[in-house]
Subunit: 422 residues, 2 copies
């Protein structure tokens, strides 16, 4: 065994006092026995959880964190974000700002992200540098983006990236058309075809705003999920971000097609887009995961806090405090994420990939300790994570990122941001 | 000058690059000049804000953090919390568990709390030991509590406490009847009389649940705020916690009487009690503050996060992303708190008390920096606070509480909790 860690192990299905052993990139042991290992960690009060999975990010948007807030989505997007992206989003800014976000994620126990943005080859490079797990999706739109003239170019880029990273242990390339209101049916069908041909996940924004619903209904006579289903986009390799405005019939379709819904509660609240029927979807057998969105609309990447929010806002939505209990909420960022991504991650189980986060129960906001699920969802924040392991490697420990120079990253992002400010 | 700190100063009305100088317990200087001082702090990237004010807590309830969750309020309160309190709440547990909560508050930049619970003399003792500012309210109920047979005893205790602390710089004693559904009109009137006689604040839970509204309406024919107004309880020395279910007419009354409403968003969501019309009250001129409630129903005391939540949930409630903007939200935990408590706190202004918190803009989740209000509300959490100053004294710095032994407190709370677990 390379590494053995003692603590309260949350699998997340179950809880056990014991040990987790790692050999290479795998979880090689989960049990009560103290096995021999190169390194053994037996600090008291540790909670060992699956590395968290953030299934909706636009990492490089940390560049715009706090620049424009408290605006209507359309105003924010068309009058600020799109023009800012045109001016400031390039290879250099995407690399450094994505890396900054990855540091934030890793410090908060996130080991895997699903990103959709531009210059995704730079996101992949940052991801390899920090050593975390990334699902990389070049944003595909029918109008010009910072790095593609049209959807054809973006699709070609996606294909190139998928070739480049096809043997990579940490990077998976995905097909990421922006939405049904910014991408034509023909393009969406091409995207799906590519995803089928190359066995890539298909990731799209769906039913985020009422405006979107109206636009899609007007254009197609259908609600967005129905429309996508109609063109055979939905299957178990599809991840739909948002899904705020979905009918019971659409929920039934999502379940039948085994598609995943990634809820994005904080960004949806901040932009007053609404609250997805997350608890209803879960109760109806839909696989639901969770994402932070970009930090321009959240404005942080704290997935532990995001779980707190989704639980509380679902209790509110249903007016039932027993809804969206802590244990079920933890699944969103762990096992359900692994299922959506078709990877052996999100559980602590022998044979699974060693992506782990370690929470320190000695922190004052986690004392006393009765129940790990409650603490993780309702009390813990990013800063309670003391160690993050990806693919068997410790990449964060005792406040320090082991793989990249945090100070350099901060400095670079500040330099880039100073031009935005000007 | 005893202490001079350089940084971005958020007053909170305005923002300035400059210095804050402290002499004794007072803010003696706010400006651009580098004054002479015993100690000067000029670390780069500091954001200097008023010490945060948490106007609704039950600090000792940290003992039950994570013990029972995901239940209906009545079930949670009557079948778990009340019996647990009867068994485990005593002088010893109140002292140590309140002190634990105070450490959590101080680490999150909170310098002042308003507490309502039992054995409040122990809360006051803990408060003096850690050196923070406390408004101490012995919970007054018409049925037996862990430390009073009836409301008469609790009232006497309140009066004794007010005598004991009447010259104290850090402690203010308040009159804290639990609610209009657990306390009779006669008792409420006695409470108000005491508060008038001794110039104490009057603090009560109001309109938290639909059940409460029904009970009060059935008993009195009035909505809770109307009922309290009817018995002349409402004035500028009254703080009403919750106020979820209030009519426009009641909002008008609250404004007219200059009473303060303390919103408690996270606890209200977790117990699915609802969302108070905070933005509407603010727009209508009501003084609104913010509180975390006890950590048994939240489950943490992170007031920066609480502000994030209230902003987002108000945007949702109004379906308007421009509502409850970051700057207005910051007032809840600063200037509005000072106004409610009739103390020169909550602003950074010469002649005000030196209660301050310092946020480190070098933390990865606060980079880049464009706007202090946005960062404080939408990005910052407790752990971004690097220093807390109360009454001119640094009580928290570089991860360390200067006044009490944090390890001892944790150990004591764990011991007490182990009995609860058993």
């Amino acid at each position: 065994m390379d590494l053995l860690i003692k603590g309260i192990v949350v699998t997340p299905q179950d809880v056990m006092d014991g040990y987790v052993g790692i050999k290479g990139s795998q979880i090689a042991y989960v049990g009560k026995e103290r096995k021999k290992a190169e390194r053994t960690i037996e600090t008291p009060h540790l909670l060992i959880i699956p590395g968290l999975i953030n299934t909706h990010t636009h990492l490089a948007m940390s560049l715009f964190r706090g620049l424009v807030d408290d605006l209507k989505l359309k105003d924010w997007l068309y009058n600020y974000i799109f023009p800012l992206e045109k001016k400031f989003i390039n290879k250099n800014s995407v690399y450094w700002c994505s890396l900054l976000s990855m540091i934030e994620l890793v410090k908060g126990g996130v080991t895997t992200f699903v990103d959709m943005y531009f210059f995704e080859e730079e996101v992949a490079r940052a991801c390899k540098d920090i050593g975390m797990r990334g699902f990389i999706g070049e944003g595909i739109l029918d109008f010009p983006t910072p790095d593609a003239k049209n959807s054809k170019e973006a699709l070609e880029k996606t294909e190139e990236l998928s070739e480049k990273f096809k043997e990579d242990e940490l990077i998976d390339v995905i097909v990421a058309p922006h939405s049904a209101y910014t991408v034509k049916r023909k393009t969406l069908e091409r995207c799906k075809q590519l995803s089928l041909d190359k066995k890539m996940l298909f990731n799209i924004h769906v039913a985020e705003t009422k405006d979107e619903i109206e636009t899609v209904e007007e254009k197609t006579g259908k609600m967005p999920v129905e429309y996508l289903n109609d063109m055979h986009v939905l299957d178990e390799y599809t991840i739909l971000a948002h899904c705020i405005h979905v009918t019971d019939k659409e929920i039934e379709v999502l379940k039948e097609k085994k598609s995943t819904v990634c809820c994005v509660p904080e960004s949806n609240m901040k932009l007053a887009s609404g609250v997805a029927p997350v608890w209803k979807m879960i109760k109806n057998g839909v696989n639901v995961t969770i994402g932070t969105d970009g930090s321009a609309s959240n404005n942080d990447l704290d997935l532990l806090q995001e779980m707190d929010t989704v639980s509380k806002v679902q209790k509110l939505r249903t007016m039932d405090p027993t809804a969206m209990d802590a244990k079920n909420t933890l699944f969103l960022a762990t096992a359900n994420g692994g299922k959506a991504l078709h990877k052996r991650i999100g559980k602590i189980k022998e044979g699974y990939i060693a992506d782990l986060a370690i929470v320190d129960l000695d922190d004052v906001n986690l004392i006393p300790y009765f129940n790990p699920y409650s603490h993780l969802i309702y009390s813990a924040s990013a800063y309670n994570v003391k160690m993050t392991i990806v693919n068997g490697k410790i990449i964060y420990e005792k406040g320090r990122i082991n793989t990249v120079d945090e100070e350099e990253v901060k400095q670079k992002v500040r330099e880039i941001a100073s031009r935005v400010k000007g």
